[in-house]
Amino acid sequence: MKNRKILLFTIPFCWIFIFLFCWKSGTVTITWEQLKNTVFGAAASDQTNIILLQVRLPRLLLAALTGSTLSLTGAVFQALLRNPLADPYILGISGGSALGAVVAMGFGLHLMIFGFQIVPIFAICGALLTILFVYNFSRIGNYLPTHTMLLAGISLQAMLSALILFLQTLLDPLQLMQVFTWLMGNIPTPEYGNLLWIFLYVVLAIGVILPQARNLNALTLGELDAQIVGIDVERLKKILFFACSLLTGSIVALTGLIGFVGIIIPHLLRLLIGPDHRRLLPACVIAGSIFMVIADTLSRALLSPTEIPVGVITALIGGPFFLFLLWKNKRNGMR
């Protein structure tokens, strides 16, 4: 218990330190002194201010939101499907979001309607339509066979990728380049207005998901067992599908397809703090954001001034790490 209290105090400090360190790292060298001046509004050069506040900060904030979102949805889908390898990609939800976003981009719908950005809305709708299709296609009466759902998701993901490729052939070269870099998985530098919308979506969805943590614990034993202990499983699944679509869609619209985070972070945290979702879900929000902030900084700094797509970084860190975890578990004779 005492250890946990110490951890609770140290984590916010670590988080802030890593965030500040990543904030000052990059192609242009910035000292702690300059960072301090900008943060406290003291006289720093205009150039430094612009780099820190207009270029790096919104991007780091988006990276943090992306990491939280990907890890949280990963953990939720793993519980929903009772499968440690599930995430929004496997179910085709990211593909659905991406298709929605490509459609919106293809029609040049970068504009706003009533103050809403169109691309994220299309992506959220794409995510929701995909999950509703996979879910209703797979269910038999009151019963949702996991393997059917996974197979349906994988098939749909393949079809959606094909559709995205098809749409790309219709785009003009400039749009094609944009869509292509976006699909590789990149953290762009968003405008603060867009960032605020995404932030609101994410906070809303997290606010919906976190109170369901206890019910997710019961659901990991299966839908029958969850019903036995008094959980309205149909309602729970609807809430979670909707919230996860909101999260996945709003993030995919900006960052494209970034892999591995949704599997790696929940796995790592389960090894560290156990499977209880009341601890796991908040931990995913925090650890996911740290991971993504670091990954994005590496993507900017490693080959500076050239940028490596962050999707490449997460796969290159994540893949071997994941194999290591599996290898360690195998040797320990665990599962």
């Binding site: 519980a79 036995i228 008094g230 499977p275």
Partner: protein, 261 residues
């Protein structure tokens, strides 16, 4: 423990998934203080009936009444304080401990954001002891044998402190020692703690030894309801199970015992 809603009445229950009905026009009841067993060959519709009683699936026609109140009028969480199911088996994708899983039996009494009270922890420890799981408390559920897992599911159900208990072949993975324990526990819950216990059983001899009343099912219909002596008739059993069976009195208790010829 809720003293309300102890008696279960089933009225003309009908359920089909394909064209052939799985449950065909069933009417019966069972009461508080009774160990009510259901026997019948595979595919007789026993588990389907248990899911209908537990509100997991909904019947096409007919209804289940709890002390005269239709089952369908209860919210899921309220129902989980009245009745619980011990499923035939469960597995879990993650490393929850025995204590974690038994504590899920207290979920129906709290909102999702509340934490467990001291009273909850006392109840959890009590049922863990009652099911002989004390030394497994911190073990990971997935690393237990299937018999131990079965006892965890029983402990979770007991932690719910319901007045109605539905058991789906609870002894199927257990060795002889624990099989007797489970039947004795079921009987004591019915007789000493006045629960209504509905139990699907595959072991006819244990059923004969412990049951108060038995319902024999075949192809979604009731063949007969009665005390062990009424049900365990050689001709009746041979006919329903499709194999020749003999019945002899138990050397000590005189209850009917069933043997293949």
């Amino acid at each position: 423990m809720s003293e309300q809603y102890q008696n279960v009445t089933v009225e003309q229950l009908y359920y089909s998934y394909t064209k052939t009905p799985l449950i065909h026009d069933l009417s019966f009841d069972f009461k508080a203080g009774e160990l009510f067993n259901v026997v019948g060959p595979n595919g007789a519709g026993k588990t389907t009936l248990l899911y209908l009683l537990g509100g997991i699936i909904k019947p096409q026609t007919g209804q289940v009444l709890l002390d005269g109140i239709p089952l369908s009028s209860f919210k899921r969480q309220a129902l989980a304080r009245i009745m619980t199911i011990i499923p035939a088996e469960s597995n879990i994708a993650f490393d929850f401990t025995v204590y974690d899983i038994v504590s899920m039996g207290r979920y129906p009494y709290h909102s999702p954001l509340a934490s467990l009270t001291n009273n909850d922890h006392n109840i959890i420890r009590e049922v863990i002891e009652q099911t002989g799981l004390t030394k497994y408390e911190d073990k990971v559920f997935n690393q237990l044998s299937s018999g131990e897992r079965q006892r965890v599911l029983i402990a979770r159900a007991l932690a719910q402190k319901t007045s109605i208990l539905l058991m789906d072949e609870p002894t199927v993975h257990l060795d002889v020692h624990y099989q007797s324990d489970i039947y004795r526990l079921a009987k004591s819950l019915a007789h000493d703690e006045n629960l209504s216990v509905f139990m699907i059983s595959h072991d006819l001899n244990y059923t004969s030894m412990y049951s108060d009343r038995i319902m024999l099912m075949h192809e979604g219909r009731i063949v007969k309801i009665g005390i062990p002596d009424d049900i365990f008739q050689p001709e009746l059993l041979s006919d329903v199970y499709g194999t020749s069976l003999s019945v002899y009195p138990h050397p000590k208790t005189d209850k009917p015992t069933i043997w293949p010829d």
